[in-house]
Symmetry: C2
DNA sequence: TAATAAATAGTAATCATTCCTAATAAATAA
DNA sequence: TTATTTATTAGGAATGATTACTATTTATTA
């Protein structure tokens, strides 16, 4: 894979925040550094960075959010401010349970707890 | 809310299957009973039926699937045949754990186990 | 039966994402 | 360094699921 300044900037931006930003948010930030960067370039490079294992994606409703935390983890989603909060996950027991009960081989577990975060007490 | 034959047919169709169908699939089925039924009518009535608590929705990638099982439950998703399999969920312990660790009030938990179902042994 | 307004059919609009293509630029060889 | 090659980009069009709009139809009530 060839070097690209656009890709470098995009990775920097994803790594600069824990807010699980969308492609559009990343595009807006990137335009401050590269005025003519296109949204297509942002999407393409986010996809490449995901394939390289340098970032993760999180599906949130009907949008994809990007995550610089590449550890396996899950999220708390606040229905008031839409924040996604990282939480660790211990899932080996769950996987074994599902395998024995349903004969279903689990590769990945998506868990989102939806509710109200501590900001809204 | 006024009676509508379209709504009756749509509810019948959702209740006729455990396959978690999409709006388009439901629309195709409905057209066999009502030739001119529109996709908009299908979407509107599915929304109404969800508000009435007669059906549930499941977000699957970038499509919404409809579910006649209105018990709280979660799903196994097979990455080979895309089947969604209902599983019961015991979540009170999880909710309490998240509340004490993160001061986050959980209303709902979405869990999807992604992997390979028993058809593909 | 007539009046009222909810529901519908058909179509246009929306929005996130992907696709397409001529132009640009990174990597390599001469 | 300069020329060649081809990956990458910018910009715009296309896609696909869902929602919005509106004239017409139809369930309900008087
Ligand atoms: Mn995260
Ligand atoms: Mn289900
Ligand atoms: Zn919040
Ligand atoms: Zn399967």
């Amino acid at each position: 894979m060839r070097y690209s300044y656009q890709r470098e900037i995009i990775l920097d931006i994803v790594r600069s925040t824990k807010t699980h930003p969308t492609a559009e948010w990343i595009h807006n930030k990137a335009q401050k550094k590269i005025k003519a960067i296109s949204l297509g370039t942002v999407y393409r490079n986010l996809g490449l960075l995901e394939n390289l294992g340098k970032i993760q994606t999180v599906k949130d409703n009907n949008v994809v959010r990007y995550d610089c935390n590449i550890e396996p983890h899950n999220h708390l989603k606040c229905k008031i401010c839409d924040t996604l909060i990282d939480i660790p996950v211990a899932n080996e027991a769950m996987k074994k349970n599902v395998k024995s009960k349903y004969n279903f081989d689990v590769d990945d577990i998506n868990i989102t707890f939806i509710g109200t975060c501590s900001k809204h007490n």
